[in-house]
Symmetry: C2
Subunit: 481 residues, 2 copies
């Protein structure tokens, strides 16, 4: 592989440029000629498909169904929930014409679909028998980005799922919010090897129009937090203006309780940043579109057929065991070139089959996470591949978890807070008075925001980190993407 | 089931109203408050998922990959292929503002994505080694409908897939176009039991900007044709303005050849119209989200547990055989109410388990397509269900195929042509001079258009059906949706 094709900067030296190179050179995504918009290329899309399949299965197992709602939302709908509208309006793309005709009302391209979905729910929900109503949507949403765009992190359009549920009581809605939060945790930690802090958002940071927001926050190697997903209890804030009412078991009419929740292709950015190295991407096996790549190594003419046959045999065996395998039979590239390319693309395990392997009735395996090579006898290939993939999955998670835990500092005073933030970033665990003014001050003065308020409150250990007044909560601050 | 919940008109008496009632009462879709836009409800979406899964698998088996491209397209891109732009511009939704800022260039919400995709391809394609480039996209596109909307047939937004491929030669592009046409035929005829006529479109009817268009046309019970899918060879018409060039095996630079092709949720409308009856929807088993519904029938308190257990056993058995089964355990509805509901929803086979069935170690099966009931001994349930589902699939296709074949008339003169069209509709097989003027005349005078020109030319048997001059082609006319 030539220098231009491989990554030309070191992750530790120029993290931002390294990220861009991995995204584009591993062909995950490309910049579009539409400023602010990204193209999700086939390899990147196949990772997104893995994420989708996992979460979709969990949602269906728990009686959620998929549906599709219109892309365009009348301006009057967005305005029905005033806070919600205020929150999104600066980012909305507005449609004003259809063909040559000016529209009588401006239409928003959905920045999120609460309003148009709840308009439909108000027609569908009549009785407690219709509840819970559990619907999920896989779509794209648009929010105009005025600042610099970053693939998978900040683009004017992104792929995500948005779930929207309706319940009889606040308690039912609470349970839904927490169940989804746990699904997201599993998707992130167990599938994607992305460890997270779980918690509530502050009033300032919560979803506009929600009663409360829960979120999952990961920590990137540059010391900045990355919000990975949110799950909101919307209370009756949307049910009231949209008139989602039901006849209860008590034969009286009640406003319903709604939740909404989402994760996006941003998960892919955390996988890149946490696991990638100077050679490129490293994809956790459970989320990898290709788990094993087999590279046949032809040196002498006479071996070619036998090696090709062995490669096909091994791939068959592995596929039967439920693994996704690619055999790289291309003739125009050398084995070395192929090794580099599949390392750039982050395939967790490479199996090499050369003349020597054939003779010794073995294959050579090379792990992507620690570059270790082992020779494996033919008759234990399936067991070994399975074992190594599990080990890679564990290892990637353990490394990232150690980094996350190590990124957490505790600060009692404001000078210490700012010093730690500037020196090493990461999460800073501090006590807070609970007043939005102090939160705003910290944001303005340091650039840090409250990322999470732990689900299980921690005991305060000092006064408010900024004002020194009695603290009400222990919270986790960080600078964030 | 109360009268309002069931279908209140007969298919033969008020086809249009019947269609609307099936769509909304079977909860496939709902009208949105956004005029012209439709909501795809969970049950409708689950049929769409069946369609997607089948086609997606075929495409992946033949090395196509999924990807995602931006929703918005700069006006200048659309203008690059002049005919293409002219064809779509009356239907385009235009974005003019982001937040409070007016955009410097208007952005089109994609009516189809050729232009933005080919802009990217021009960067990705360098050498013959990069070809063929085979990408598919599952997304929604928007085309403003000024006439009356009809769910699944004519809406301002629809879900579809659009495939976009790049090839070295015209022959390679031809092969791709025909392979996809065959995949679509299989999806329609073998999965959805929707028989079709395959053929080319005339110059007037082809996709704007294409070299030629192939299409699949179905015939609805009201005598109108419904276009089910198209597969286009775009020649070099887009490659030239978008500069998709490659270094050939001959070391010279060549413009590439591109194809595009698509099917949409419209397939669902053909399933509804062809197979549905006065009781509602009838879904072909291979595309049905629920293939078998089990309704336990509780009369006496004492039987309940034993019947529930038997229902669970039977569903387990069927699921293990790879079938999708739903057990309707709801207690607030009577068996009769449930029968009606699942018939409305078109589930192909109902299995009833009552006290008598329990005694006799049997179950009762009721087919949705012909309402026949049979008692089946416990130990042959899986074989019988499998056999009956296959038979339903065959029966639905055979009935629809007989109707399609019977809908075809041959007309040699124009009076006959118009009389047949008014009396019975359907396809009219006629000879045509090949001149667009005559084609336009027929459209204006009768409302019929050329639906297909057979892939294998048929021998002409008269002069042009309208002008009487020597004919060049046998073509199939019809009025169409």
């Amino acid at each position: 592989m030539s220098k231009e094709i491989g990554i030309t900067v070191k992750k530790a030296e120029n993290f931002s440029e390294w990220y861009t190179q991995v995204v584009t050179k591993a062909e995950l995504a490309d910049y579009s000629s539409m400023k602010g918009f990204m193209i999700l290329r086939p390899y990147g899309y196949s990772i997104w498909e893995q994420i989708k399949e996992h979460l979709d299965r969990r949602l269906k197992e728990t009686n959620h169904s998929n549906a599709y709602f219109p892309l365009l939302i009348p301006e009057s709908f967005l305005k029905k929930e005033a806070e919600h509208f205020k929150g999104f309006t600066p980012e909305v793309f507005w449609v004003t014409h259809a063909g040559d005709n000016q529209l009588t009302e401006r239409l928003a391209i959905r920045p999120t679909s609460e309003t148009i979905i709840y308009d439909a729910y108000s027609k569908w929900v009549r009785s407690w028998r219709d509840l819970p109503l559990l619907i999920n949507v896989w779509n794209s949403v648009l929010r105009a980005e005025i600042t610099a765009t970053r693939p998978f992190i900040r683009t004017s359009e992104f792929l995500w799922q948005e779930g929207h549920t309706v319940h009889e009581t606040k308690e039912d809605a609470d349970k839904e919010v927490m169940m989804i939060l746990e699904f997201y945790r599993q998707l992130l930690e167990e599938q994607s090897a992305v460890p997270v802090l779980l918690g509530y958002k502050s009033e300032r940071e919560k979803f506009v129009g929600s009663l409360y927001t829960t979120a999952l926050e990961a920590m990137m190697p540059d010391g900045k937090a990355l919000q990975m997903g949110t799950s909101h209890n919307l209370g009756q804030n949307f049910a009231k203006p949209f008139e989602i009412k039901y006849l209860g078991r008590d034969e009286a009419t009640h406003y319903a309780w709604t939740t909404s929740w989402g994760v996006s292709w941003r998960i892919i950015s955390a996988i890149i940043m946490l696991h990638g190295d100077d050679r490129g991407l490293v994809i956790p096996p459970r989320i990898a579109p290709i788990q094993v790549v087999i590279v046949p190594i032809y040196y002498r003419e006479g071996d070619t057929a036998a090696i090709a046959e062995k490669a096909a045999q091994v791939s068959d065996q592995l596929r039967k065991a439920g693994l996704t395998v690619h055999v790289d039979t291309r003739e125009q590239y050398t084995p070395g070139w192929k090794f580099n390319e599949w390392e750039l693309k982050g395939v967790p395990l490479r199996v090499e089959i050369g003349p020597k392997d054939l003779e010794k009735r073995q294959v050579t395996m090379a792990r992507r996470d620690d570059s270790k090579k082992t020779m494996v006898p033919e008759d234990t290939i399936v067991q070994e591949v399975t074992r190594i993939l599990e080990d890679i999955q564990k290892n990637l998670y353990a490394r990232a978890k150690t980094a996350l835990d190590g990124s957490i500092s505790t600060a009692m005073g404001y000078d210490e807070f700012k010093r730690v933030l500037d020196q090493r970033g990461g999460f800073i665990r501090s006590c807070w008075c609970g007043v939005t003014e102090c939160e705003d001050g910290i944001r303005t003065e340091s650039g840090a925001t409250i990322r999470t308020i732990p689900l299980q409150p921690e005991s305060t250990f000092s006064g408010c980190v900024r004002c020194g007044k009695p603290a009400t909560k222990v919270v986790y601050f960080a600078r964030a993407y």
